[in-house]
């Protein structure tokens, strides 16, 4: 059976509705919410702060720790709260996806903690988590080369498409999905995973779609940051100048 029409009526290269908001967790140094379709991720950043136990400290540069967690009510059937094999792995790949974008040389012996909570899941949670985390890191003022954005692309029933939802991921006649994270300025890939089977040509095709989608997400992330910060730009500028002088 050929997958000729998507379950939610989207075009094959169309993203779900995206909403991003910066500064949602007041107690954190930086935070962000990223919503794509029915998947919602909240990321909070704490640090740079002292790192203990001391043997983990790196005197050359700061380290990044990512914690990915799915709320027990985020999926249809309750999942057991607390760390699992899956969440540990996703935390690790998130860390590796974000690290190429960060400049942590200025924070030797310190740690930057990123906590990602998935409060509602409908496929693509690690991508939503990475998008939220990079916004939160920018909000916390960590020096970054670029804002990382991520999207899942895949092949469902012989068709190549962008941003799979849960129904498409579980499609019975074969479905493979490929989460991709990117540094959009130079289109550098920092995360590439594949669940399922795909031909070489299909992967090339998927990556093209991913680049296109990431540019769109990057635009949304920029708007979210602007919304929080642009209002008070001129006043702060004037004050700072006067203080320096």
């Amino acid at each position: 059976m050929v997958y000729s029409k998507r379950v939610d009526g989207r075009k094959f290269d169309e993203l779900r509705e995206i909403e991003a908001k910066v500064g949602v967790v007041k107690s954190a140094d930086g935070s962000a919410m990223f919503k794509i379709g029915d998947t919602i991720a909240i990321a909070a950043v704490r640090g740079p702060r002292d790192l203990y136990p001391k043997f983990m400290q790196n005197p050359k540069k700061g380290i990044l720790r990512c914690n990915y967690n799915m709320m027990s009510f985020s999926v249809d059937e309750r999942i057991r709260p607390g760390p699992s094999r899956r969440s540990k792995e996703i935390g690790l790949v998130t860390e590796n996806a974000l690290l190429p974008a960060l400049n942590l040389e200025e924070f030797p012996n310190a740690v930057v903690d990123v906590f990602i909570e998935i409060i509602q899941a409908d496929a693509g949670t690690r991508c939503a988590g990475i998008c939220a985390a990079s916004l939160a890191l920018a909000d916390a003022g960590i020096p970054m080369k670029d804002i990382v954005c991520a999207i899942s692309v895949g092949k469902v029933g012989g068709k190549i498409l962008t941003d799979l939802n849960k129904k498409e991921e579980d499609y019975e006649d074969g479905s493979s999905d490929m989460p991709v994270a990117m540094l959009p300025r130079k289109n550098e890939i920092s995360l590439l995973q594949l669940d399922g089977e795909m031909k070489q040509e299909d992967i090339d095709e998927c990556l093209k779609l991913a680049i296109k989608a990431c540019q769109k997400i990057s635009e949304i992330q920029r708007n979210a940051l602007m919304e929080k910060y642009q209002t008070n730009q001129i006043d702060d500028q004037v004050d700072k100048e006067n203080q320096d002088g």
């Binding site: 909000d139 003022g141 960590i142 970054m144 006043d235």
Partner: protein, 223 residues
């Protein structure tokens, strides 16, 4: 070639500010080959050929000469260790703490004890973020009374105001003693403390709204 984003414009990490070798990267900017790229959220500020950012967010990062308010967290043989709201602790050595003679065997807690707050100046910062403080300077002291509140370090310039206008007004209208640390700690003593805290919280919240000075003046019962 040249400047791509104009001065005083808002940038986010990854924005290309300038191309070519005509400009130099300053605070919050880095060079990648031919391009100068922002690495933090801020506003572009041009100083001749140096491009730097006025940061809009971020934790406190000490600079040499900053006045900070810190808390004693540890004591050693040759000095004290202080928490100044940075990822690394700061050091205050006996030599920089006082001009009095301190005997080698003296009990350092007689000068500054655990949990004491002091106003100090950043003397030096090493590459690996070791920070040296000094107590030698105008207005540097141990805080014996009063209360300390936290504000966002990026809002400190607003609390101080243009050439110290805001802080002077706060002091005059309330008869309080106020000391603002660059690390986002504000010490208030005497007078109508509650009202000042309210005013500072308002400054922090509405820092971007014009006419704030008048509003605060009104709030504190000035003309």
């Amino acid at each position: 070639m040249g400047l791509i984003i104009k001065e005083r414009e808002f940038v986010i990490p990854g924005d290309v500010i300038a191309e070519g070798i005509d400009y130099l990267p300053g605070n919050g900017v880095y060079r990648d080959g031919n391009q100068l790229i922002a690495q933090q959220i801020g506003i572009v500020n041009l100083d001749n050929r140096l491009i730097k950012l006025v940061l809009l967010t971020g934790a406190y990062r000490p600079k040499i000469g900053d006045i900070v308010i810190g808390q004693i967290v540890n004591m050693g043989f040759n000095g004290w260790t202080l928490d100044i709201g940075f990822s690394n602790l700061a050091m205050l050595s006996v030599r920089d703490a006082t001009s009095d003679f301190i005997d080698k065997k003296a009990d350092l807690s007689r000068y500054y004890d655990f949990d004491d707050y002091i106003v100090a100046k950043v003397l030096n910062i090493s590459k690996s973020n070791l920070i040296d403080l000094t107590m030698k300077g105008h207005g540097l002291m141990r805080l014996k009374e009063g209360i300390i509140i936290d504000v966002s370090p990026s809002k400190v310039p607003r609390i101080i105001g243009k050439q110290g206008s805001m802080i002077t007004m706060l002091k005059n209208l309330s008869n309080c003693e106020i000391s603002v640390g660059q690390n986002g700690k504000v010490w208030i003593d005497g007078g109508n403390t509650g009202k000042i805290i309210e005013a500072i919280k308002l400054i922090e919240k509405e820092s971007h709204i014009p006419g704030l000075t008048e509003k605060i003046e009104k709030m504190l019962g000035g003309k």
